[in-house]
């Protein structure tokens, strides 16, 4: 006898609210509770590849910094491998590829240290340019926003990237390119995110 398929609906999203730090980064909320907070070390000590810092500000539709935002990063290692059982290959011991950051409450600046990811095979074997996947939640954001950070110095790979090429408005692709600078040997990529208005960042429905 045929049983009908029993599909469920996804639980609807709600905003993370202004006090997201209590749950996901309690040290920042102002108290110590867990032995280990999660997400502060993305690459671990053994990861190969170039050590980089990523920094930025999230701004709202009026141009003001969003100071209560929380971002999560998800990336492959320098060999283009995700630390996940479904992805073929091995990552370095201690490499998780996932991070969680909040902003400075005064300035709205956020930043994290990691390694630059390698290119990752995409659909039908087409290579995707190196990128970091970002997920953004805050008060006033009803469903977490997905975007991708690509790297300025990967112009050739970016030009061939199947995801960037999906964006019909070529000038909007620039909103996903982080700008590289070097100070005293330290490499920083600047990636500002604009939630709304002129220069609105491209967000994805994944």
């Amino acid at each position: 006898m045929m049983r009908p398929f029993e599909y469920l609906k996804e639980t609807p999203s709600q905003t993370a609210g202004p006090y997201v730090h209590i749950g996901l980064a309690p040290g920042a909320a102002g108290f110590d509770i867990y032995e280990r907070e999660l997400g502060w070390d993305i690459a671990g000590p053994n990861a190969g590849g170039e050590r980089i810092r990523v920094e930025g500000v999230v701004t709202d539709g009026t141009g003001a910094p969003v100071k209560d935002v929380l971002l999560e990063a998800w990336q492959a290692n320098a060999d283009g491998i995700y630390a996940h059982p479904e992805h073929p290959g091995e990552v370095e011991d201690g490499f998780r590829g996932w991070g969680r950051v909040i902003t400075d409450f005064e300035t709205g600046t956020w930043g994290f240290d990691t390694v630059k990811p390698g290119p990752v095979p995409g659909r039908n074997g087409r290579l995707m340019a190196p990128h970091i996947n970002l997920w953004i939640v805050a008060r006033g954001i009803n469903v977490g926003l997905n975007t991708r950070l690509y790297f300025e110095d990967e112009a050739e790979a970016n030009a061939a990237d199947p995801v960037l090429n999906l964006i019909e408005w070529e000038h909007r692709r620039q909103t996903l390119i982080a700008r590289r600078s070097e100070r005293g040997g330290a490499v920083t990529y600047r990636f500002d995110i604009c939630l709304q208005g002129d220069g609105e960042t491209v967000f994805f429905d994944i």
Binding site: E10, D68, E86, N133, R139, G144, V202, D205
Partner: protein
């Protein structure tokens, strides 16, 4: 081979819209241009994994994880439990569930919360746990209080607990809030009511679960969480490439 394919498209009409004008903060924080739809790649079907080395056994007990030895937070003692499933009704084992909430007087332990309601020296307000092999999770906590918030001049949040869940893929990442059965503030809340479909709101309401209560000790509420499900790969192009 089962459930190795792409995720079912997210039903954006079931979720709240980015712009929900009665929830005023959403007005300037909502993208105005359409989201670019992305067919799943390895970047979306993978996601972080967590193990028992990442958390401690007592992290899911908010009655004790911040309290001084021998003391307890004030408020209605509750068990909050349920299962994490996917849209195919299959359990999601070993996934991280994190919660945070106000205390019984509606006050958050956060340097930015200045509400009159008193802080409770024995209540931190956060917990985390991994689901078991059948996707089950449980916490002990106190029922949070309602509190006023700056939106319209007299808006009050219904009692709620924030919930964060990972699943197995970055495409499943979800943050939501659960409410409590019978709370008269639910239909008045602009954040809850940003969700158009009343059946979707129903999914956010934890139900009194007398069978899970501990008599003379702790009352229980049940809250099941559903994450996105995946197609089978029988006739699929594999998103990670062939």
């Amino acid at each position: 081979m089962s459930d190795q394919g792409e995720f079912y498209q997210r039903d954006r009409d079931w979720h709240p819209p980015a712009l929900a004008p009665a929830y005023k903060t959403s007005v300037t924080r909502s993208p105005r241009l359409p989201l670019i739809s992305l067919e799943n790649t390895a970047s979306e079907i993978t996601g972080p994994t967590f193990g028992h080395g990442d958390i401690d056994a007592g992290d899911n007990d908010l009655l004790t994880n911040f309290a001084k030895p021998g003391e307890s937070p004030i408020g209605e003692r509750i068990i909050l439990h349920g299962r994490v499933l996917d849209e195919n009704a299959r359990p999601v084992p070993g996934t991280l569930v994190e919660i945070w909430q106000a205390n019984a007087s509606g006050r958050y332990r956060h340097k930015k919360d200045g509400y009159l309601g008193a802080l409770d020296p024995n209540f931190g307000g956060c917990g985390r746990v991994l689901t078991d092999d059948e996707g089950r999770y449980s916490f002990r906590t106190v029922k949070p209080g309602a509190y006023p918030w700056r939106n319209r001049v007299n808006d009050w949040r219904p009692a709620h607990i924030h919930v964060s869940v990972f699943g197995t893929a970055f495409a499943q990442r979800l943050i939501t809030q659960l409410y409590f059965e019978g709370d008269p503030l639910i239909p008045r809340c602009p954040i809850v009511q940003s969700i158009a479909d009343p059946q979707a709101v129903e999914m956010l309401i934890a139900r009194l679960d007398m069978n899970a209560t501990i008599p003379l000790d702790t009352i229980a509420y049940r809250f099941d969480i559903v994450l996105r499900g995946r197609r089978s790969t029988m006739f699929e192009n594999r998103p990670e490439g062939n």
